[in-house]
Structures are given as structure tokens and as C-alpha cells.
Amino acid sequence: MNTTIVAQLQRQFQDYIISLYQQGFLDNQFSELRKLQDEGTPDFVSEVVSLFFDDCAKLINNMSKSLERPENVDFKQVDSGVHQLKGSSSSVGARMVKNVCISFKECCDVQNREGCLRCLQQVDYEYKMLKTKLQDLFKLEQQILQAGGTIPQVDIN
């Protein structure tokens, strides 16, 4: 094991994950999920977020359909979708996505179709952005493990 390489990768990982918290992509719940991962379940976090991203795609698609025709918007369905999206983003620590959902709900409550469409676009952007960031994070994890190192515990407080 090349300890220099491992140390470098670990440092990279640490800096990257801290930046994700600092920039507001992730919140404390993500670190709660990381606590649940161990050598026996090394893919737990990536599996959960994968389910989350699939959920995002599905919900966004459904809400998009409901918002499609201006004369016939099913705001109840949109509200239900936002509620679900808010819930799951909260459960994985996807802070930006969750925050957009808060605005999204407000638009829904007043039946503002234009506002809803803007929020829909934003939430789509945010989940895809987070997906890319986390893919990079998990890649770093893999590199550390392959180099024979261990994933650092990161204290975000």
C-alpha cells in the first residue's frame, strides 16, 4: 500500500465532502446516514442515494405531466409529489433539493402554475447536480479502498 497516495486521496475525500456540506448541498442527515455504513455494508449510502435519485426522476416526471396543460393542472397530484420529494430529500440530507421543495409547495398552495414550473425545473437541476457531486465522492471512496486505505470519518461540526 502506497501510504502517500492513500493519504492524498483521503485528504481529497475529506476536503470534497466538507465542501459539499459548506456549499449547502448536504446537511447533517447525510452524515447520519454515513454513520450507518460499515465494512459489512460499504454501499449503504450509495444505495440509498441511488434510490433517492430514481425517486426524484419518477416524481419530477409525474409532476411535469400534471403541470403540462395550463387549463387542466392537477395541483393535488403536484402537491403530493412535492410532499414525497421533500420527505425523501430530507431523509438523505439533500439540502438544496429539500429547500426548493419548500418554495415549490408554496407555489402549489396558491395554484401558481408558472411558479410550479420554475420550481420543477430547479428541483430537476438540483438533484442532477447533487447526483454528479456524489458520484465523484463515491469514486474517491472507491479509489481509497482500492489503494488499500480506509474511508475517513468526517466531523462536520
Binding site: Q29, E32, L33, L36, T41, H83, S91, V92
Partner: protein, 210 residues
């Protein structure tokens, strides 16, 4: 033995009364696949057996409470705790709670409600209906550990009660038992403690949930 009772008394002849701490079997109900995965892991890491279902209807089916007698054969293990989301399409967590508390077979099983919304009237409503506790989402490991301790403590108290009454019976029957139980309280004050309690005192703690 009551449904939901898990502690088994091992009383070897002439030996100590020992109680083996069992694994709780938890039925987790949530329509969100993400939340199901998280709650399942939280419970497994807390040494519980877990069965997850995606709706209140499926939960009733699993318990055999949906009127379909055949379904009760499906469950391999007795359920010791039910953890359910509040907002679900169809049967809500509250509806499920009511159905469980209305059932003579299952009313003793503690039910914990989870919700992303911190609505006081909702919390009150659930506690009033007999919920053991109310968890604010997102659920954390500390929440699950707390719930587990609560449930285990209730089960242990129930068991101590029956252990003390067994001890009395054994003593009366002139069988030598050197009890390993460290309980030193007055036997005459032992009374049945129901496993599902109204958590009135917990209500004050709810404000510290977030």
C-alpha cells in the same frame, strides 16, 4: 403469554432464573422506498429483526388483521413493535394505529408514529389513540436507540413481573432457587404493567425532538 411478549423465562431445575434478551421483531410501514431503506438499516443496526411494508393495508395483511385468515400464516415471527409513517396514501399511520388498538390480539403491540411534520394536534391525536411515541423525520440512530430502550424496558418490566410471581410460586412449592435477579423491591407491590403506555410524560420531551 400475551401477543407481543417476547422474553422467555429459562428456569433450569434448581438453577438461577435467567432471562435472555431477545431480538425485537419490528414491522416498519412507509410508502417511501427511501425511508423504508433508511428505517430498515437503522433498526438492523440496533439489533432488531425488520420486516418492511409499503402501506397500512399491507401491514394489516401481514398481521392477519385484514379479515383474510390465511394471511396470518405468512408471518414467521411475532411482531414486537410497529413503526409507521403518518402520511401515507390510503390508510394513514393514524388509521393503522386505530385498527391495531381496536384489535384484541394486537392492541398490546407498541406503535410508534413517524412524521415529517411537527404538528402538535397530530402528535396529541396519536398519543391519545395509544401510540407509544412520535418520531420527527428524518429519523436518526439516536431516535431508534431511544425507542428500542423504551420497548425493551417495558418488556423487561413485564417479564420481571411474571418472574417474580413465578419465583413466589417456586418458593411456595419448596423448590430451591437462588435468584440472580437483583431486584430488591417489595414483592407485594408488584402489579401488571401494560406494554403500551400512554406517553404523557414523553409529550413534554417532544419539544426536544428537533
Amino acid at each position: 403469554m400475551a401477543v407481543g411478549e417476547v422474553m422467555r423465562m429459562e428456569i433450569p431445575a434448581g438453577g438461577d432464573l435467567t432471562v435472555t434478551p431477545p431480538e425485537l421483531h419490528v414491522l416498519a410501514v412507509d410508502d417511501s422506498i427511501v425511508d423504508r431503506k433508511v428505517i430498515e438499516r437503522l433498526l438492523r443496526i440496533s439489533a432488531c429483526k425488520v420486516t418492511t411494508v409499503d402501506s397500512g393495508a399491507r401491514a394489516l395483511q401481514y398481521l392477519g388483521l385484514d379479515g383474510n385468515k390465511g394471511a396470518s400464516d405468512l408471518k414467521d415471527l411475532k411482531v414486537n413493535l410497529i413503526v409507521t409513517d403518518y402520511s401515507m396514501p390510503g390508510l394513514t399511520g393514524y388509521d393503522l394505529l386505530k385498527k391495531i388498538k381496536e384489535s384484541s390480539t394486537f392492541r398490546e403491540i407498541p406503535v410508534v408514529i413517524m412524521s415529517s411534520e411537527n404538528i402538535l394536534t397530530r402528535i396529541e391525536q396519536c398519543l391519545k389513540e395509544g401510540a407509544e411515541d412520535f418520531l420527527l423525520k428524518p429519523v436518526k440512530l439516536a431516535d431508534v436507540k431511544r425507542i428500542k430502550q423504551l420497548i425493551m424496558r417495558n418488556e423487561a418490566e413485564e417479564c420481571k413481573t411474571s418472574s417474580l410471581s413465578n419465583k413466589r410460586k417456586l418458593v411456595e412449592g419448596n423448590i430451591d432457587t437462588s435468584s440472580s435477579s437483583s431486584s430488591s423491591h417489595d414483592d407485594s407491590s408488584v402489579e401488571d404493567i401494560p406494554s403500551s403506555k400512554r406517553m404523557k410524560s414523553e409529550f413534554e420531551n417532544l419539544s426536544s425532538l428537533h
